[in-house]
Symmetry: C2
Subunit: 241 residues, 2 copies
């Protein structure tokens, strides 16, 4: 941890998910209560506590802007003033681009600004992971947080039979943060064709597609994503330690 040193680094918390995989719950997952606070508030506080960011930005659907701001004020009054809530886009890439545009208008130097993007529904990200993301994005231009694959991964091109079982030792589960040099990210995103945009669900994939280096940051098994209802039970257990 680096206290309150600012480093031309910006955190973008991506809270755009509609939460359609959470069963009956109509609330986006980031608003579900985890212990005494909504999931999103836990996540945002991790980035505020890092003390390494010029600004922490939360990107959520337009319709949830007010509720998101209210929640942050209610559950995290000490940090609410450090956090900016803005509208994301229709897709994850659009939301990342909205963060790029916002930071562009705020930072002193686009050329060496770092943008750390993180899923709002991964509240257990550690300070080590955040710090290593800033450092790796600064040193290499891009990095992804990953954890060695624990499951065997099976490929099926027809959804009925196995087409391949790749060697697990070279496979990792992608987590977040994913972090980037701001200028490089913007350049690559603006250079995408429409066809490329449709297959690029992941900002790191844009770098890979263009032959740019993406460094790995070691994630953590506890840096879980809250996707399914049973994930909230695991998250509660993790919170209690």
């Amino acid at each position: 941890m680096s206290g309150s040193v600012k480093r031309n680094a910006y955190a973008a918390i991506l809270a755009g998910g509609s939460g359609t995989r959470m069963g009956n719950s109509e609330k986006p997952k980031q608003f579900l209560m985890l212990g005494s606070k909504p999931v999103l508030v836990h996540t945002v506080e991790k980035f505020c506590l890092a003390g390494s960011f010029d600004e922490v930005i939360v990107l959520c659907p337009e319709a949830w802007l007010r509720q998101t701001r209210d929640l942050l004020r209610k559950y995290s009054p000490a940090f609410a003033d450090e956090v900016t809530v803005i509208a994301g886009g229709a897709t994850r890439n659009d939301t990342v681009m909205a963060a790029v545009r916002y930071v562009e208008g705020r930072c002193e130097s686009v050329a060496d600004a770092v943008l750390v993007t993180h899923d709002a529904v991964r509240p257990f990200v550690s300070q080590r992971i955040i710090e290593e993301n800033i450092e790796a994005a600064r040193a290499h231009g891009a990095c992804d947080t990953v954890f060695p694959a624990t499951d065997t991964i099976v490929e099926s091109r027809d959804a009925g039979t196995i087409s391949a079982i790749p060697n697990r030792s070279v496979l990792y589960q992608g987590q977040t943060p994913q972090s980037f040099n701001l200028a490089k990210l913007k350049e690559l995103m603006l250079g995408l064709t429409e066809d490329e945009k449709s297959i690029l669900t992941d900002a790191c994939k844009i770098f890979v597609l263009r032959g740019e280096k993406v460094a790995l940051v070691r994630g953590d098994s506890s840096n879980m994503k809250i996707t399914y209802p049973q994930d909230m039970r695991l998250a509660s257990a993790l919170l209690e330690g």
Copy 2:
């Protein structure tokens, strides 16, 4: 469920793991208590309850044979007589081969016997999954239980930078059971070269390598593998429903 109809089908519960990923716990994970019974007992009971197997076989390290038999008698007296506990091998493939050899000596017809292999540490397998495994192995010669990949999967050939991010829509997380026509499985396993054996950590992969069809059976997110300490917390939550 098919009551007590026997179908020349055998279940092999693979309990060979040494549990080195469970932190301080020295007990193999299958012996950890989950609610009122060890993990292994939950798993074995699922296969006994199916009523579809001529025999349920548990394969464990030689050193744990007595304890495994004692646990089954203590925690599952109603089923203990239906279950046979035998020693597995040094590797997962050796353990599967030990099951093949055992069943060969017991079944009436090797040509159409089905072997359903399952991780001892996946106690939440459902009756649907078990039934569909028997049917798919009977119909297609081999099947694997899989669930659509929820994480982005990242490939790194040098463990330092990303080499590829495959399209997630064709990727699945391998679960178990994996089920096979016994004669076909034996033939393919005996035909492996030493080099092939060293890369084949997974019996389905042997079929894929030889161009044989492996059908997919839809798994379940609750059919989790207990690998890490925090997995026991999720398992307890799932048990309580």
